[in-house]
Every structure is written in structure tokens, then in C-alpha cells.
């Protein structure tokens, strides 16, 4: 049987880890915003997606969160007319990565907000633990 307060630290830590992975995926997408291929008609960078799932920790009876899978966004690649580009096809069109910067930045904001909420939980659980320990302090 776990101590519930320590368990909440564990749960919040799993949330931090999941959101950390999310920020990593967002940063990969943003960094590869301009990664086209370099052979004619080549497929550019494909946007990565991430999803979470609830994982029940049976020993502790708590709902942790884990990264479910890192998938690929299969929306079409936008085309850009640029015949001088090494990845241009016969008609002069270049396939660009299907990364939308606005979507990525919004996703990053949301990850940030969730990360902060988890940090707040950790802070609060620590406060509760130290309140309990302070009962021992002679005054």
C-alpha cells in the first residue's frame, strides 16, 4: 500500500514526463518545418503526432499517464512551385512538410499549461507532506 501523497507525486511525475515527450515532438516538427527532400519528387519531413493513454498502476491503484504512440500525420503535403529546387518534380513543384507552425505553437502552449499544472500538484503534495512532518516539531 503506497502512501497516497507520495503516490500523487508519482502520478504528477508521469504527467510531467508525458508532456515532456509532447514538447519534444513539437520541437521536432518545428525544427523540420523546412526539411524537404533533395531528390526530384522526394517525400519531405512528415509531421509527427503524439497521443496519451491512461495506465492503471495495479500495485498502487492510481491512474498514471503514458505516451500511447508517436504517429505520423498523413495529411497531404503542400506544393510549392520552385523549379530550381533539387526536390522539384518534372512540373517544377516541391513537396513541403505538412507542418503548420500555428498548430505546433498552440500545441506547445497547451503542453506548457499542462506541465505547469502537474508541477503545481507536486508543489502542493510536498507542502502537505511537510505539514505532516511539522507535527513532530516541538513548539
Amino acid at each position: 500500500m503506497y502512501d497516497p501523497l507520495q503516490l500523487s507525486l508519482k502520478v504528477a511525475a508521469s504527467g510531467l514526463e508525458a508532456q515532456g515527450h509532447r514538447v519534444r515532438v513539437v520541437s521536432e516538427n518545428l525544427a523540420n518545418h523546412d526539411s524537404t527532400g533533395n531528390t526530384p519528387g522526394a517525400v519531405p519531413y512528415t509531421r509527427k503526432t503524439i497521443s496519451f493513454k491512461t495506465a492503471l498502476d495495479h500495485a498502487a491503484q492510481a491512474n498514471l499517464v503514458h505516451v500511447d504512440q508517436i504517429g505520423h500525420d498523413n495529411s497531404p503535403y503542400p506544393l510549392e512551385f520552385n523549379p530550381s529546387h533539387p526536390a522539384a518534380d518534372a512540373k517544377g513543384y516541391v513537396k513541403r512538410p505538412n507542418v503548420n507552425m500555428l498548430v505546433e505553437l498552440a500545441d506547445m502552449r497547451e503542453a506548457n499549461r499542462s506541465y505547469e499544472a502537474n508541477l503545481q500538484v507536486i508543489k502542493q503534495a510536498r507542502e502537505l507532506i511537510s505539514l505532516t512532518i511539522d507535527l513532530l516539531r516541538s513548539n
Binding site: L7, S8, V11, G15, Q19, R22, A117, A125
Partner: protein, 128 residues
């Protein structure tokens, strides 16, 4: 000694509060999990009422009841949430953080009451 019952009830309340804190932590951790529904404990008064004395199992066939199970019953209900997302998730971070604030406040109150009550007892024992 009826008055000493206070320690018991305060520690029971703290126990309930820490379990609630764990549930709120899992709600917040799963704030972006598709299909996750937020959970909460039933109110402390109710948990206290439903906590019964345990009967001794004197025969093999006797069922065991756990008096603390009502305190940590996590299936006690889906909480009424402020919002629901398209992904089927109904965790509202604001609401959950507000609840953790409630937990923290009640916990502080409990420990402070216990502390001052203990000081009173110690003072009585010392005899001034």
C-alpha cells in the same frame, strides 16, 4: 475520553484528503488523455458515515469487510465537470487546481488543530 476522538477524526480526514490529492493528481496528469473521465471521492461526511466497524471473522465462511475501503473508494463517482472536450476528456484544469487548493487548505487546518490540541494536552500533562 471523548475529546481524544479528535486525533482520530483529524487523521482520518487527512487520510481522505491525501487520497483525494492522488485522484486529483491523476486527473491533472491525464488532462490531455483522450476519453479520460475525471474522478473524485465521495464527500468526507458520507465516507465517515459509511465506514463501519469491522466484525471479527470467527468462521472460515465469514466475509471480511474492510472499514477503510469506503475512505478510498475511487469509483465513488465521476465528478461533475465544467467542460468536455471533443476527445471525450472532461478534465478542467482550473477546476482540478481549485480542488487541490481546497485539499491543501483543509489539510493545513487539520494539522494546525492537531498541533494546538497536542500543545494543550502537553500543557495539561506538565501541569503549567
Amino acid at each position: 475520553m471523548h475529546s481524544l476522538y479528535l486525533f482520530n477524526i483529524a487523521s482520518q480526514h487527512n487520510n481522505w484528503l491525501s487520497t483525494r490529492q492522488t485522484l486529483l493528481a491523476s486527473n491533472i496528469a491525464n488532462a490531455n488523455t483522450p476519453g479520460y473521465k475525471s474522478v473524485d471521492l465521495q464527500p468526507f461526511e458520507k465516507a465517515l458515515e459509511s465506514a463501519k466497524l469491522q466484525m471479527a471473522a470467527t468462521e472460515v465462511g465469514h466475509l471480511k469487510t474492510d472499514p477503510t475501503s469506503a475512505m478510498t473508494d475511487t469509483t465513488a463517482g465521476r465528478s461533475a465537470s465544467w467542460e468536455i472536450y471533443h476527445s471525450g476528456n472532461n478534465v478542467s484544469l482550473e477546476q482540478e487546481l481549485m480542488k487541490t487548493g481546497e485539499v491543501s487548505r483543509a489539510y493545513t487546518l487539520n494539522t494546525n488543530i492537531m498541533k494546538s490540541f497536542h500543545r494543550m494536552l502537553a500543557m495539561t500533562a506538565k501541569g503549567g
